[in-house]
């Protein structure tokens, strides 16, 4: 069934499969597309978009402009970037703007699912509309005040000026009368020309929350405090699918501060966003709850995943990846025949383990159940899914649940899944409505994530006698995210293949892409840049291996594979997803891919002479409709320790709304990419994640970070061009570029992530 759904989105899972049983039609203001006309981009997202200025902007008599941020802030800067668009278009002075976070209500605000690198890409235009409408209403109000023609007045930096007379009136004075006016028709909007932008595309913008963060005065989900609130932690079943058999809380109840224990129900598969079940310890403070949990004596029933073991599963995947067959994703020419008859061939296997998002703020939610309603404060990437899921579990209507979206102490996909909000809501209900803050410890976070999948990628290439590529074969094996929503799923889905398996623009005559089956044995979920991680790692490592085998320059081979500049309709690559974007508006543009490769190799001085033990590695990857290429430089010492003097990374994300936050996102993606490549691994034994804190699950620290990251943004000042994503596309090229650099430095090829101690063994 799901194969037929184009534009599959993270929210569609909830709306489509869990709660409604069908994909909701999206009601859009002012749009009258035929019912069978495919919808793309923001039009295809659940609840679409809203651009009513009265929903997003209010103006106080003192002139303070309050702009609503309806997407969740998790470090990507969306609370700055989107309100800034409104402010710019309405000629508001940013220093007099306040930003208020929207609660979870997509009918009011439009889609709020903060994932898929979509926020600015989808809401740049709606937010310009909001600003344009508000500016026009202020101008109309001023013209009425002075009884002059509207054409004689102009809004400018927080006031409206009557141009012939030079009279001025501030936004605060106009607020009341402007709000009474009808919202102008979208057809009549006028937009500021880009040359008059004050904030959009400018480099000096400061993060709206920066000062509060630097002084420790922000409120994250972890910081919410309510009167009469208690604290709770949950003892979850150790392996996914296990359930509570019995427990003894005698010693727990002796811990000073512990109030009581209670149980949460487990749910049968699929996992959805349902709580895992287990025993809740309620206490007067978090520490007492944690102490009490340690004293619980619990017996669990084993489940279907209790023998999940990473080493054995890897062997299983390896076998599948090395056998012809599985779901055929794309077949062009006859790759098998070409491989049989080639002058030379190459074959390699790549393995990428499970990963945990591990945002610095672990999952946490504070709930206050009030009988016929419930308030939940939480750092959620999915406010509406949170509302719907909590409502379902409390048997309330969604409108009886209020989701207060706090700042997120990181998300990376983990906080798209509201299981922890449900736990808090059920606990508050079980406590007869006492407010409760339910905290996940780091151990809970790392052992009960919705993990990044585990992948085995098999690649083969065939060459003619001149070293030119004749065939490309890629078999990708990995449990699908969709298994979390439909337990029978054993194949990856269109949106996973569309992350760098099918949508490779290679000018090779014979191409075969296959997907053997793989079952999931834990909860699989989104992790920043998702399936692009394994696919880019394998594909971009393999191209470097091809170049090495043919004794050719990697960049030359990469550009040759990409072929001449052209725009490829993704549907011709059997990519039915295209990140949910229109294939006409967002074709795969190989010229843009070539240019980021040329830019980054130029800036990094590709091919420069380096001392022994040092090397450069290249990788390029198209994801979230953005083009990225990276050159990583490494130094490997005699003990096999890797340091990274610098990373150069070129990004073409189309028009840039907030270049400073784009740079910070790309820098962060480089470091998270280094982290997963060097250190990242979750492995399972007896169904349980072996790692449980930052000692076992290591992440990159200051001493392992690149010394320098040079972000090269491709210039683009035409704001009518479609925007690309920013939060995720920096990640995928980093691991392969790093491992290609390690090869250049050491002649040791890393095909299994993480790198960790592999260079010491040599």
């Amino acid at each position: 069934m799901k194969d037929n759904i184009v534009n599959i989105s993270r929210r569609n899972f909830v709306k489509g499969f869990a709660l409604s049983g069908f994909v909701l039609a999206v009601g859009l203001p002012g749009l009258s597309a035929a019912a069978d006309e495919p919808q793309y981009g923001r039009n295809a997202m659940p609840h679409g978009w809203v651009d009513n200025p009265l929903v997003f902007v209010s103006i106080a008599p003192d002139g303070t402009v309050t702009i609503v941020a309806h997407r969740s802030e998790m470090g990507q800067g969306v609370r700055t970037s989107l309100p800034m668009v409104v402010a710019d278009e309405m000629e508001a002075d940013w220093s007099r703007v306040k930003v208020e976070q929207a609660w979870g209500d997509e009918e009011r605000f439009g889609n709020q699912d903060t994932d898929g690198s979509r926020s600015v890409r989808h809401f740049f235009m709606p937010m310009r509309n909001v600003g344009a409408a508000m500016r026009m209403m202020l101008e109309t109000a001023a013209a009425a005040l002075w009884a002059v023609p509207a054409a004689e007045v102009k809004a400018q930096n927080h006031e409206v000026i009557h141009q012939p007379s030079g009279r001025r009136v501030g936004y605060g004075e106009l607020a009341e009368s402007a709000a009474e006016l009808p919202v102008p028709d979208r057809d009549n909007f006028t937009y500021k020309p880009a040359s008059e932008f004050r904030y959009i595309g400018k480099t000096g913008n400061k993060n709206i929350d920066g000062e509060a963060i630097a002084t420790g005065t922000t409120e994250y989900g972890m910081d919410v405090r309510l009167d009469n609130m208690v604290y709770a932690v949950v003892a979850h079943p150790p392996a996914y699918g296990e359930t509570l058999k019995s427990y003894d809380d005698t010693e727990t109840l002796k811990v000073p501060g512990v109030i009581k224990t209670l149980t949460l129900p487990s749910s049968p598969p699929p996992a959805m966003f349902n709580p895992l079940g287990g025993v809740v310890v309620v206490a007067e403070n978090t520490w007492a709850a944690i102490q009490g949990r340690q004293k619980l004596k619990i017996e669990w029933n084993t489940g279907p995943n209790s023998d999940y073991e990473s080493e054995a599963f890897r062997e299983q995947m390896k076998q599948a990846a090395n056998q012809q067959g599985g779901k055929v994703l794309r077949s062009q020419g006859d790759a098998y025949k070409a491989l049989d008859n080639a002058a030379a061939t190459l074959s390699a296997d790549y393995y990428i383990p499970h990963l945990a998002q591990a945002p610095m703020e672990p999952p946490v939610a504070t709930a206050h159940f009030k009988g016929d309603s419930c308030d939940v404060w939480a750092p959620t990437q999915a406010p509406q899914a949170s509302r719907d899921t909590v409502a379902k579990w409390l048997e309330l209507k969604p409108e009886q649940v209020m989701i207060h979206v706090t700042l997120l102490g990181g998300g990376f996909g983990r906080k798209s899944k509201p299981d922890f909000l449900v736990e808090a809501a059920l606990t508050s209900r079980a406590l007869d409505g006492r407010p409760v803050k339910l905290v996940w410890t780091r151990e809970d976070d790392i052992q009960h994530s919705y993990y990044h999948t585990v992948s085995f990628e098999h690649l083969e290439a065939a060459f003619d006698e001149h070293g030119k590529s004749l065939a490309w074969l890629h078999r990708t094996v990995a449990p699908s995210i969709v298994s979390t929503f439909d337990a029978s799923t054993i194949h990856q889905q269109a949106f996973e293949f569309g992350m760098g398996v099918v949508n490779v623009p290679f000018a090779v005559p014979n191409i075969q892409l296959e997907n053997p089956a793989a079952e999931a044995h834990t909860r699989i979920g989104w992790f920043r840049s998702v399936s692009n991680i394994p696919h880019a790692f394998a594909v971009q490592s393999f191209i470097a291996e091809m170049a090495h085998q043919q004794q050719r320059d990697h960049k030359t081979v990469l550009l040759e594979l990409i072929g001449p500049d052209r725009e490829i309709d993704p549907r011709t690559l059997q990519d039915e997803w295209n990140y949910g974007e229109s294939p006409e508006l967002y074709p795969l543009n190989t010229g843009r891919l070539r240019r980021v490769i040329e830019q980054v190799t130029d800036k990094a001085n590709w091919g420069k002479q380096l001392p022994a033990g040092q090397g450069q590695g290249l990788a390029a990857h198209y994801s979230f409709v953005t083009y990225v290429a990276a050159v990583v430089e490494v130094a490997v010492n005699a003990d096999g320790e890797v340091s990274i003097p610098q990373i150069d990374i070129a990004v073409d994300c189309g028009p840039q709304v907030n270049p400073e936050r784009i740079r910070s996102q790309i820098e962060g993606a480089c470091i998270m990419g280094v982290s997963l490549a060097m250190l990242g691994e979750i492995s399972f034994k007896d169904g349980i994640a072996v790692q449980n804190n930052f000692d076992g699950y290591q992440v990159t620290r200051m001493d392992g970070a690149p010394a320098k990251i040079n972000v090269h943004l491709m210039p683009s000042d035409d704001y009518d061009q479609p925007l690309g994503g920013v939060g995720e596309p920096g990640m995928p090229p980093i691991a392969p570029a790093l491992c290609n650099a390690i090869f250049a430095a050491t002649q040791k090829r890393i095909r299994n992530l993480p790198v960790r101690y592999q260079l010491e063994e040599a």
């Binding site: 802030e73 998790m74 470090g75 990507q76 400061k206 993060n207 929350d209 920066g210 000062e211 963060i213 630097a214 002084t215 420790g216 005065t217 922000t218 409120e219 994250y220 972890m222 910081d223 405090r225 604290y231 501060g257 007067e284 403070n285 978090t286 520490w287 944690i290 945002p359 610095m360 703020e361 672990p362 700042l407 102490g409 990181g410 990376f412 905290v439 780091r442 151990e443 400073e660 910070s664 996102q665 820098e667 962060g668 993606a669 480089c670 470091i671 998270m672 804190n693 930052f694 000692d695 992440v699 990159t700 620290r701 200051m702 001493d703 970070a705 690149p706 010394a707 320098k708 990251i709």
Partner: protein
């Protein structure tokens, strides 16, 4: 027991072994200091005890008796703290910001003890503080900028 936080004496009635972190956050409502790992592995909970950076998530509150604690809420009372905060804003260091209280306290303690930290000094002082968003290169730049500003006699 009595503990002194940011030059203010607090009387709290908690078990001796309760970590300072939870006394601050849950008992006193001072939520600027963050919970990240509970095992002294990530540094989000860093505060100063008599000027030394410590991990409050594993330090029993009893150990803070007769000592002076400084948290993120009061680092601006120190010249190095002000310089660090100013450099943080100037470099737009934070992304999600959750780890930054700990980063700023660690960086302030570093500059208090070493006015001209080298890259190695910064690695040694700051590698206990994890940032998942990946702000390390900007943290490094900001620490150097703050050091330079302090040396030049201003705080940013």
């Amino acid at each position: 027991m009595k503990i002194t936080i940011n030059e203010q004496v607090h009387q709290i009635d908690v078990p001796d072994e309760m970590p300072i972190l939870w006394a601050l956050r849950d008992v006193l409502g001072m939520t600027g200091t963050k919970f990240g790992c509970g095992k002294s592995l990530c540094g989000a909970c860093t505060v100063m005890m008599d000027g030394q950076p410590i991990r409050s998530c594993v330090t029993p509150v009893k150990q803070a008796e007769n000592k002076n604690l400084t948290t993120i809420e009061a680092v601006s009372r120190q010249p190095a703290g002000r310089a660090i905060q100013a450099a943080w804003l100037d470099n737009n260091v934070p992304q999600c910001g959750y780890c930054q209280s700990g980063q700023i306290v660690s960086a302030t303690a570093l500059l208090n003890s070493n006015s001209r930290p080298t890259d190695d000094d910064i690695n040694n002082a700051m590698s206990g503080n994890i940032c998942r968003c990946g702000t390390y290169t900007r943290i490094r730049d900001a620490i150097k900028q703050a050091a330079k500003n302090l040396e030049a006699g201003h705080e940013g």
